[in-house]
Amino acid sequence: MKKGKMFGRQRLHKLTRMLWSIARFFLIFGLSFVILFPLLQILSKAFMPIGQFLDTSVVWIPKSLTLNNVRSAMSFMEYGSGIWNSLVLCIGCAALQIFTCAMTGYGFARFRFRLREPLFLLVLLTIIIPTQIIFLPTYVQYRFFDFFGVSRILGMVTGQDYTVFAKNLIDTRWTFWIPTFFGVGIRSGVFIYLFRQCFRNLPKELEESAKIDGCNAVMTYIKVMLPNAKSTILTVFLFSFVWHWNEYILVRTYLPQNHQPLALKLKLATELMVGNAAVRVNIPAQMGITYAGALMFILPVLAIYIVAQKWFVEGVESSGIKG
């Protein structure tokens, strides 16, 4: 009798599990649809001849395919130079960010010094305070860049205004290289946090054995600690790359004329077409070009994501972000 009861309970258990897996399927399917919906729409509209945009019999699959939208989007966006500028900016910034943030994170994770906790709070402060609030003074700073106060000292010594010795960095990539190198670039605080967590979780013995082998702090860091942080480095690279790729507000301020990356070119192209961002005139041609432009814009990142997706998830998981 006892056996029978057990059997019944097991069957009930099996049933609930089956019901749950069906519910789970619909849930995941539905939410995936919400996520994929705009992307599918981009894909569908990018290759749709503009004549079919207002055709109510065409919803998803165009009756015929065309490359005209893509072609005009590419010429509007100056695709070749845009993609080159984006790649230089994104790869450069990602590399610089890895360099500084890993170092800073290591410093915070593995050494005890008196101001460690208050200084780390300041790192968190850089995450919380958005760039928007300080981007105007930063603009002025780059417009009359004073080399960390050197120009001001020179100005005081020679009795001239410091702007004589200052340099205009606007429209040069230095406006991105400098902050990212010094660990205050786009979301650098998040990366410092990630690296700190990663180094904190590594066993203490690693450093001790390196010390016995006669490594100094820098050598230990380069030869022992960094190779152990590979997955975090990869994650940070991907995040940094993607966030710089999507960035267009800072880019618009710091690189208004030269070296415009793809995001800005796409934004300017759509604004140019609409005439005014505030006025939305839904002419199918504009929509076609916009959708095709959006497709061409996300295509490189999407390709990287599809290739790197596996490490990406694993990297974040193994970096063990703990609160």
Binding site: F37, T100, L119, Q141, G149, F182
Partner: protein, 302 residues
């Protein structure tokens, strides 16, 4: 002998501290010159009227004019921009936190096609807050595009169903509000799901096994183990979501601050309002943090 050792220890500590400072020195320089200084300057700018000329900036002190001019100019400014900027996105936060925890738990279970599902749910991390999402908001979700498919996302469909079901108006409003925002909410939860998923994997499986032997149900397991263990992550997710909401480019207040600067060239006004807005946002974040951190449970496993 003991004295000597103590002295030696002190020296080693000092050396350790020096090395530590050396490692963070680059960031420290950057923080002081490229973050702290601009931050202080923006406090100064907020009280000035500025013009960019070829020779440099020209400043005139105007008091608190920059903070109040917009409210005087446009009496509807608070209702049309400030209040939605603060509230609309904050209301979303708890929904976003709960939803991302739920999705993370589902994605953490073993089932066929899990890798594909994860890849789809992390897609927003790649594209989010970028220009494409903004374009999609402008074009894709436009009502003039309303086909059968977009109708699914429009609240009218759900509102009709709810009205037919005879639910009170308040519940209908809440539901339609959420369903109107479902696209935005899911699209802004990418990182949160990622954070939660990594947190879930940090919970030792032995705890669940022990609970199971004790006869705990899945429901009890969630509240007694998962929820408690994940609480530090919830804190991070909460703060992250709030920051994201306040700095979202679609946030009407952020939009206004940028337009003020880019289209109208009002440097002082845009800085002052930006500063005031950030202070309020900061206060809200601090309050949320203080309330939430009381319920956070830390496991000291180091």
């Amino acid at each position: 002998m003991a004295k000597k050792r103590k002295h030696k220890g002190g020296q080693m500590q000092r050396r350790e501290a020096r090395t530590g400072y050396a490692f963070i020195s680059i960031w420290l320089i950057g923080f002081i010159f490229l973050f702290l200084r601009p931050l202080c300057m923006s406090f100064y700018y907020a009280f000035q009227e500025m013009k960019v000329t070829q020779e440099g900036m020209v400043y005139t002190y105007v008091g608190i004019k920059n903070f109040i001019y917009k409210f005087q100019e446009d009496i509807y400014f608070f209702g049309s921009t400030v209040w939605p900027g603060l509230s609309k996105f904050v209301i979303r936060t708890p929904i976003c936190v709960i939803l991302s925890l739920f999705i993370a738990i589902v994605l953490n279970q073993k089932f066929h096609g899990r890798t594909v599902a994860r890849a789809v749910f992390f897609l927003p991390v790649i594209i989010t807050s970028g220009i494409v999402v903004q374009l999609l908001r402008e074009y894709g979700m436009d009502t003039s595009m309303e086909t059968e498919n977009t109708y699914l996302f429009a609240s009218n469909g759900i509102a009709e169903i709810l009205a037919n079901a005879g639910l009170p108006q308040i519940i209908q409003d809440i539901f339609t509000d959420i369903s109107d925002q479902i696209f935005d909410i899911i699209w802004m939860s990418g990182i949160q799901i990622l954070l939660y998923l990594s947190g879930l994997q940090g919970i030792p499986a032995s705890e669940y096994e022990a609970a199971k032997i004790e006869g705990a149900t899945a429901w009890e397991c969630f509240w007694k183990i998962t929820w408690v263990r994940i609480s530090p992550i919830t804190l991070v997710v909460l703060v992250y979501t709030l920051i994201d909401a306040f700095t979202d480019v679609a946030n009407p207040m952020i939009k206004f601050i940028f337009e003020e600067y880019q289209l109208r060239g009002n440097l002082g006004g845009s800085t002052a309002l930006g500063l005031a807005y950030c202070l309020v946002a900061f206060l809200i974040i601090i309050i949320a943090y203080a309330i939430a951190s009381k319920h956070v449970f830390y496991v000291n496993d180091n």
